[in-house]
């Protein structure tokens, strides 16, 4: 039972345009959402997060939007750069998971390719 879903395995975008990566979740207990970026042969790197009390969070070129009623979040990258080419993972946690351990549940990832 996949609680965090990234339905697009891959996405190609022209340099300078907007990249939109999508993520859906099924567990209504999730109250914190994160995006990670992963390059080959490296560990995932934290990118941006959002609490369920917000519907938008921005950090430079990266913006995450949360639609709680639809159980959907998205990551916007504007403008996209070739260095953004990587696999992006959506992750979610809830306060009461595992004795306050804030375990993360990950999606399968979306491979973003930014074409120069």
């Amino acid at each position: 039972d996949q609680q965090v879903k990234q339905n697009s395995p891959s996405l190609s975008v022209q340099e300078g345009r907007i990249s939109i990566l999508n993520c859906d979740y099924t567990n209504s207990m999730f109250d914190y959402f994160l995006w990670y970026k992963k390059y080959p042969a490296e560990g995932p790197t934290f990118l941006i997060s959002i609490s369920s009390i917000k519907d938008k969070n921005e950090d430079g070129r990266f913006t995450v939007f949360l639609n709680k009623s639809a159980k959907h979040l998205s990551l916007h990258i504007v403008p996209s750069q070739p260095g953004d080419s990587a696999v992006y993972f959506c992750a979610a946690s809830h306060t009461y998971s595992g004795a306050g351990s804030y375990q993360l549940t990950f999606g399968k990832g979306t491979k973003l390719s930014v074409i120069p």
């Binding site: 965090v4 560990g43 995932p44 595992g98 375990q103 990832g109």
Partner: protein
Amino acid sequence: NAGVTQTPKFRILKIGQSMTLQCTQDMNHNYMYWYRQDPGMGLKLIYYSVGAGITDKGEVPNGYNVSRSTTEDFPLRLELAAPSQTSVYFCASSIDGRSYGYTFGSGTRLTVV
């Protein structure tokens, strides 16, 4: 700034062998985690620890064991390796698992033949 260090980076094991994947962090984080990533899949939690001396099972703990004797170290033990344990293993730590997310190591690629 070492962050989270995992060793070894690569390893080939024969079926039935055992090994320990090492993980150490220098950020004084209380929370530590072991995840595995199979091809085309997301990361799945094996074990986690909320502090020295405290560990608990995650989603896929079978075939693994952990210990946490110090804040810095969180080794993962594989007993009687099986082909199904062929995967990339990531260790991570966090200060609160929320605002700052996790800091991951670079991974250990394990093949069981």
